[in-house]
């Protein structure tokens, strides 16, 4: 899986295709992220990344992330389930013909100078923050495709937003646009 260019995003979806919206926030460079059914084999530099990719619909699960030498944190890390989390937190469903936000993968360094390198790895739900960025950078996509929360958590905010947006548009065809968020005046 690779991030799409703006041009490729504009091409939209074919039949039985889905958009995946993914955010990665990492302290260290990552070389590969593996999910059941998907591999992200892209060098990911430290920082915050916002990806839109095109995938086949289906059920996926976060699995491992890989850090290559010479990084002090080199190794393969299992993306673990939160200790007491609701079941299947790491599973997500990608629906055809939709924009599926599947979570924000956060990778943080463990304690400074640990005897053994450790990483704090968590998949977080930042649907609305990502939505606002989508609205800023790819508003046309939100209008063309319904949004989904890919996570199997029961959170249905994006679906509600999408439905409300469609209803308001149909009622008025005069929809206010999102405004920039942090960092903008």
């Amino acid at each position: 899986m690779k991030p799409l260019t703006s041009e490729a995003i504009a091409d939209g979806l074919g039949p039985d295709e889905a958009f995946v919206v993914l955010e990665i926030e990492t302290d260290i460079a990552l070389d590969k992220i593996v999910l059941y059914g998907l591999v992200i084999e892209e060098e990911i530099q430290p920082g915050r990344h916002f990806w839109i990719s095109r995938v086949s619909p289906g059920r996926y699960r976060w699995r491992t992330l890989h850090v290559a030498a010479p990084n002090w944190f080199k190794g393969i890390y299992r993306i673990k389930r939160h200790r007491y989390a609701w079941p299947e937190e790491l599973d997500f469903e990608v629906a055809a013909g939709r924009l599926n936000y599947v979570g924000t993968l956060r990778v943080e360094k463990g304690k400074p100078f640990p005897a053994r390198p450790s990483l704090f790895i968590r998949v977080q739900n930042r649907s609305a923050e990502v939505l606002r960025r989508l609205a800023r950078e790819h508003e046309d996509l939100i209008d063309r495709y319904p949004l989904s929360t890919g996570s199997i958590s029961g959170d249905r905010f994006l679906e509600f937003y999408s439905e409300t947006r469609r209803r308001l548009r149909e009622a008025t065809d005069d929809l206010p646009r999102a405004v920039p968020d942090e960092g903008s005046p």
């Binding site: 939160h82 200790r83 007491y84 989390a85 609701w86 937190e89 977080q124 739900n125 930042r126 649907s127 609305a128 923050e129 939505l131 606002r132 609205a135 209008d143 996570s151 958590s153 029961g154 959170d155 249905r156 905010f157 509600f160 937003y161 409300t164 947006r165 308001l168 548009r169 065809d173 005069d174 929809l175 206010p176 646009r177 999102a178 405004v179 920039p180 968020d181 942090e182 960092g183 903008s184 005046p185």
Partner: protein
């Protein structure tokens, strides 16, 4: 699909983003109100201790940057600086009449006191970097004390002399066994030791990485055996030794004893029975217990009587503190006796109130004199702080609740604009009659502030607290409505100019209330507010990760699956359409209890519906803002209020 550009322009005009910065808000105040930094000043007296003979006070204080150790002559108050440090200061102790020690980080400051021939204070200072902490002085042995160590999961106490401590660093590679005389040890950490005045341990309370453990010795100084253990999640299991019981071998403990609140009891560890109830306030927890440092008698219990913090004195001594106070001293249940000399001839007490952030007084009983030792926030003008009053409100279903109202010192003709401020929680928290910088800030700028201890608040009993369950955007907000309506009828309040402000649950409540009453409030402020209740239960809070989260959510709020429709019905993000008042959405980027996505959701929906809002991002702040976080926030908060409620200063708001 076409987009109406005029809509974009409107939306951009309606929405503002503020990134909180100190520069915006920390400038000195203009005429009128306080500047935020004045109300969040951090200078205070930390600890005050009277020497056993009552001749001296040792004081530690801070200016917010450094910590100071002073010695003060009890008669006359002449004061001398002994030591200053940037390290955190811990309690200080008098070892005997002439020697005291104080801890600053890892440094222990030992000081001998005296008076020169010319009458000047003389105090030597010897700084030692020693592992461990002082456990207690031994009033029966001069220059001897008990010292606690914690190594490799084992806690121990040692009898050492002042010389042992003073020479600690000279004894390189000192081993634990060589540090004084070991008196006792237990296999756990964070130990609290209880010892007799002669230094014989009779009980201890400590943590073993899984449970809290209580140890007891049948005879003081004898072997300690484990008599109780409890898991932090086991509320009924709570049993903490606090001091010696009246009967030999018994303990004074705090425990629940088949009640939902914590009380103070005498407990017989041999029979595992509670011998007597010493003090268990009706429907409130005993939060803190103080003991006479000399006699080890139970002195006072701290608890919350509704919105009032009270100190109930339980000493049976002939010299009860309530009899030792002067005519001008505060009532005994509103003071904390910090320290006293032997025989209680001289003591230091601390008191606070909504208009007093904290003050220490020295009382000389024989002379019947009380003098001020020092105040917290000493540059704050107390005369410009607004008093707080309380009143009872009958809610829509007849439930009685307590409300707190702070009215500005000067009220314009027509009344002061009103800020309603629901507290967070909601269950088990409450607003109290204490100094609150945010309330005083708003009052100083002309706004009256209404708080209400709605159903579910702590301090009013178990039934009242349980009455708040599953009452989000229902009974809780009914209570707030009743408090608002009663307040609105006052001549000094102009309720036609009202805004509702809340943090955490209070942020939820603020937006939910404005949705319930679209015409009532001219503006709304949500600070780290919950906006989407089902989301909070799934993965929108660290609280959802707790082992018992599902059970607690179901009990207090509802089930995210079975009650989904109800939870959507009460959640602000799904009901923004009804909102008419402009909203200021404030959030800390590091909050994990109510993560910032709650605020982003609210903003996304406000945006979608073309509602007026402002966004304020407070970087590097979490669920509870730090002092700096508030200083960065309050200026913008006031500007937002003045924008929507008008200038609240009496001279301007009164109009022609």
């Amino acid at each position: 699909m076409s987009i109406d550009r005029s809509g974009i322009a409107t939306s951009l005009l309606l929405a503002f983003v503020i990134v909180a910065s100190t520069a915006l808000t920390s400038a000195p105040s203009a005429a009128g109100g306080h500047a935020p930094h004045q109300l969040f000043a951090t200078d205070m007296i930390l600890w005050a201790r009277v020497s056993p003979d009552g001749k001296w006070l040792a004081l530690t204080s801070t200016d917010g940057k450094e910590q100071f150790l002073h010695l003060e002559r009890a008669e006359g108050g002449e004061r001398k600086l002994i030591y200053r440090s940037k390290d955190v200061v811990q309690p200080l102790y008098w070892v005997d009449d002439d020697t005291f020690l104080a801890r600053f980080g890892e440094q222990t400051v030992l000081s001998d006191v005296g008076v020169t021939n010319s009458g000047e204070i003389e105090a030597g200072e010897h700084v030692v970097k020693a592992l461990g902490t002082m456990v207690s002085a031994l009033p029966l042995e001069a220059e001897t004390l008990l010292w606690g160590l914690e190594m490799r999961g084992v806690s121990s106490i040692h009898r050492i002399t002042v010389d042992d401590l003073a020479n600690y660093e000279e004894r390189a590679n000192l081993r634990e066994q060589e540090f004084g005389t070991k008196v006792a040890e237990i296999d756990c950490v964070s130990a609290t030791w209880l010892t007799t005045p002669s230094g014989a341990p009779f009980a201890a309370h400590c943590w073993n990485d899984e449970q809290w453990l209580t140890y007891h010795a049948a005879e003081p100084g004898g072997p300690l055996r484990k008599i109780h253990q409890y898991d932090p999640a086991d509320e009924q299991g709570w049993l903490k030794p606090m001091g010696p019981g009246e009967q030999p071998g018994n303990l004074i403990v705090t425990a629940r004893r088949d009640r939902s609140t914590i009380g103070l009891y005498e407990y017989d560890p041999r029979t595992e029975r509670f011998v007597r109830e010493i003090f268990h306030p009706e429907d409130a927890d005993v939060e803190y217990v103080r003991f006479d440092p000399v006699t080890y008698e139970v002195l006072s219990a701290q608890w919350n009587d509704g919105s009032m913090r009270r100190f109930t004195y339980l000493d049976s001594s002939k010299r009860r503190f309530e009899d030792l106070l002067g005519a001008d001293d505060p009532p005994v249940d509103q003071i904390v006796v910090e320290a006293s000399s032997a025989g209680r001839k001289r003591f230091v007490y601390w008191t606070s109130s909504p208009t007093e952030p904290g003050a220490h007084y020295f009382r000389d009983v024989d002379r019947d004199e009380t003098r001020l030792v020092g105040r917290s926030m000493r540059d704050l003008d107390r005369d410009r702080l607004a008093p707080m009053t309380t009143f009872q409100v009958e809610s829509t279903d007849g439930l009685q609740i307590e409300a707190l109202l702070t009215v500005p010192l000067e009220v314009p003709q027509g009344g002061a604009p009103l800020v309603v401020m629901p507290h967070g929680g909601p269950i088990g928290h409450h607003d109290s009659q204490r100094f609150d910088p945010m309330i005083q800030y708003l009052a100083s700028w002309g706004f009256a502030v209404l708080q209400a201890n709605y159903r579910g608040s702590s301090g009013y009993g178990e039934d009242f607290q349980k009455a708040g369950r599953k009452q989000w955007a229902r009974g809780i907000e009914d209570d707030l409505d009743a408090a608002f309506e009663q307040t609105a009828s006052r001549p000094d309040i102009d309720a036609s100019r009202a805004c509702i402000i809340g943090g955490r649950y209070g942020g939820f409540s603020a937006v939910a209330s404005a949705i319930r009453h679209p015409k009532r409030f001219q503006c709304v402020v949500s600070i780290n507010g919950v906006s989407d209740v089902p989301f909070m239960m799934w993965d929108g809070s660290d609280a959802a990760s707790a082992s018992n989260a599902k059970q607690i959510f179901r009990q207090l709020i509802g089930d995210p699956v079975e009650d989904y429709d109800h939870l959507v019905e009460i959640s602000p993000v799904y009901n923004v359409e009804a909102l008419e008042a402009p909203v200021l959405v404030v959030y800390g980027t590091w909050d994990i209890r109510v993560p910032r996505d709650h605020s982003h959701r609210l903003i996304a929906m406000l945006d979608l519906h073309g509602k007026e809002y402002e966004e304020m991002i407070v970087h590097r702040e979490g669920h509870s803002f730090s002092r700096n976080g508030w200083i960065r926030t309050l200026g913008n908060l006031r500007r937002f209020l003045e924008k929507h409620l008008g200038d609240a200063s009496p001279s301007l708001a009164a109009g022609p």
